[in-house]
């Protein structure tokens, strides 16, 4: 994602490009997760768990993209960046751990 300011690029145009890229990444991750789960892998098999692991990683990435680029937390104070990252990490680690148990 482009973050460094380009001296000749006006801020709105650069900001627009960043959110379009975030949107494209979100749609791609959604399609990828759909493709991964379109098979018949059963729950609690090794193959099924690996696919769900991939789905969890994709969902966590999507969540971080929304928080950083749409909610503009990438420009926010550090306490907010840490709080939102902690929420994502605790949530997905807890959900996947319970899923595997």
């Amino acid at each position: 994602m482009p973050q460094a300011p380009a001296a000749s690029t006006p801020r709105p145009r650069r900001a627009e490009r960043v959110i379009w890229l975030a949107w494209a990444a979100l749609v791609t991750a959604t399609m990828l997760a759909w493709l991964l789960t379109s098979g018949d892998a059963q729950a609690n098999t090794t193959a099924g768990n690996a696919l769900v692991g991939a789905v969890v990683v994709l969902a966590a990435i999507k969540g971080r993209l929304i928080i950083r680029y749409f909610m503009e937390v990438r420009h926010a104070p550090r306490w907010l960046q840490r709080a939102t990252d902690a929420w994502l990490a605790v949530l997905w680690i807890a959900l996947f751990s319970i899923y595997l148990s």
């Binding site: 801020r11 949107w23 959604t30 379109s38 789905v55 420009h75 926010a76 104070p77 319970i98």
Partner: protein, 200 residues
């Protein structure tokens, strides 16, 4: 939000500069957003604990959901967030007419999401998938609570639009706050979609 007291004459480019740290929206909206994220997070974990107690039943019920409909709704909501983010950029740039158009388009995507969800609920109910099934009781509560938030988001977008239409008010900060709430709805949906439709 510092911009919330700006007069129309002061509506000018106000976005964050390189390296500058600022709170998007205002602290009151962030308290609401973080609180919602916390409580939804707890409820997501409760769902997974219940699922772990009857994996086969939950997995079988989850396979009755139409992933395609979930994917379409995800794309609709992600697109609405893109439009909402463009509204914030427009308002920071002083382009209030474009900001209004973006907010209308965001709301239209929200209404489309509700219509698709209503179709999905109708389809599930007509196939006998009701709250008598443990998974579907979670499904209806999760998606129902999410719809309530979405309806509230539409109302807040309407308030922002009303402010932008009134030449005496036009507080750019209120657009940032309303859009922040909208993005949270998108964020929660991304989790719900993965949890109910994909982790099966």
């Amino acid at each position: 939000v510092t911009a919330s007291s700006a007069t129309p004459a002061e509506v000018a480019p106000s976005g964050p500069r390189a390296g500058e740290r600022r709170l998007p929206g205002d602290i009151d909206m962030w308290v609401m957003v973080l609180g919602d994220m916390f409580f939804f997070g707890c409820y997501f974990i409760v769902y997974m604990v219940f699922r772990a107690r009857s994996v086969q039943d939950f997995s079988a019920a989850q396979r009755q959901l139409h992933i395609g409909i979930g994917v379409i709704n995800t794309v609709v909501l992600v697109t609405s967030s893109l439009l909402a983010a463009r509204a914030v950029i427009a308002v920071q740039d002083g382009a209030l007419a474009q900001a209004r158009r973006m907010l209308w388009a965001t709301g239209a995507c929200g209404v489309l999401f509700i219509l698709i969800k209503a179709y999905e609920w109708h389809d599930e109910i007509s196939h006998g998938h009701t709250i008598s099934n443990e998974f579907f009781s979670f499904y209806y509560v999760f998606t129902g609570l999410h719809l309530v938030h979405l309806a509230l988001g539409l109302l807040i977008l309407g308030v922002a639009l009303r402010e932008l239409r009134n030449p005496r008010k036009q507080r750019p900060g209120i657009v940032e706050q309303s859009v922040l709430f909208w993005h949270m709805i998108d964020l929660l949906w991304v989790v719900i979609f993965a949890l109910l439709y994909l982790m099966r």
